[in-house]
Symmetry: D2
Subunit: 115 residues, 4 copies
């Protein structure tokens, strides 16, 4: 997790240098994260699925900026709440494996509560 830890520390310095911790409540950060996720979605909204798999270089560059923004806010909100992102993701993978047993979920996008 060296790289996420480094980013976490860089974001701490970034906010401290700008006196931005006053704005960075988990509530506000969750809104900022949703806004960035929507900016990523905006890139794809009128594309076909096929087009979304074959992005021209300038579109891909925009996608990189938006996934980066999402990651940065994700690291930031996790830091503010003392969450270990990697551990949380590993835990969730196990939950998902139980919610969606391979034998049952195979080839269907049906939500677990309707499987």
């Amino acid at each position: 997790m060296a790289n996420l830890t480094l980013l976490r520390d860089q974001l701490r310095s970034f906010a401290a240098e700008r006196d931005w911790d006053q704005f960075h409540s988990p509530k506000n950060l969750s809104a900022a994260l949703a806004v960035e996720a929507a900016e990523l979605l905006e890139i794809f909204q009128w594309l076909s699925e096929e087009q979304s798999r074959q992005l021209p270089a300038d579109t891909l560059a925009s996608v990189k900026e938006e996934v980066a923004d999402v990651l940065l806010y994700l690291i930031r909100i996790s830091d503010k709440l003392g969450i270990d992102l990697i551990a949380a993701a590993q835990d969730k993978l196990q939950v998902n494996a139980k919610k969606y047993p391979a034998a049952i979920a195979r080839g269907t996008a049906t939500k677990y509560d309707k499987l």
Copy 2:
């Protein structure tokens, strides 16, 4: 990036075992990511900023699940598009440092294009 790489590989297996790659176009993954980000936002929507900083244990557990979901889809869409998430975040941090010079952005939440 060992941990993100591991998660990427686990997600590849997870999707392959369920034959889910057919659903995992970048377009669809960007929608799923936005949905998870909104589920995180939902936890905070009626809380005060102060309350969001002092979450009870069960709420914090819910937050962990949602930040995990966001990270998992973020890793997945990046994998599908060949994006190195950590490198993208480092690049974006540099862009942000130029957009928001500390001396100008100090103590204000004003967007860069209005600074």
Copy 3:
């Protein structure tokens, strides 16, 4: 509903004149709606609740544009799916009244499934 019907018809013409019906699948429209909702959220993300109640004129003008965009896509997706928006809202109000009985929900923002 005269006014919503008029807007529906104007949006039909708007799309027809631009040959945009090809892009206006309900799936795509739901993404566009979520993007506009996030643009509205972006305006408020760093404001305090108190500030959000006392918007300066230029911010209020931006809010007007975003609520308008949300309404336009909402009318459009409803039109594409044959949904009567007003009737749906009246039905949902009744559902909400049952989910949140006044005597129980009074003064709390707790979600119905935890009341």
Copy 4:
């Protein structure tokens, strides 16, 4: 606008009876609106565009509930900020007509700033 006015008044009573105005700051309402928009998006996230045009009855019923929720919060935030939704939508339609001249925007989903 008789129907929107009626819904506005019903929502005012609904909130007053539950003492919910304390939670209904424009900031919070914008988050709630984004959450509902994402719940609508969730219904479509794994569907093809074609499938989204031909929804089975139970899915359509879910869509009705979500578009209703979006409309209700849209009316509520507009009420709190003194915005006339229909007038705002009419104004925005005129802005859009200028941003996307039919002759130039015909058959393309390109954003106005790149047309």
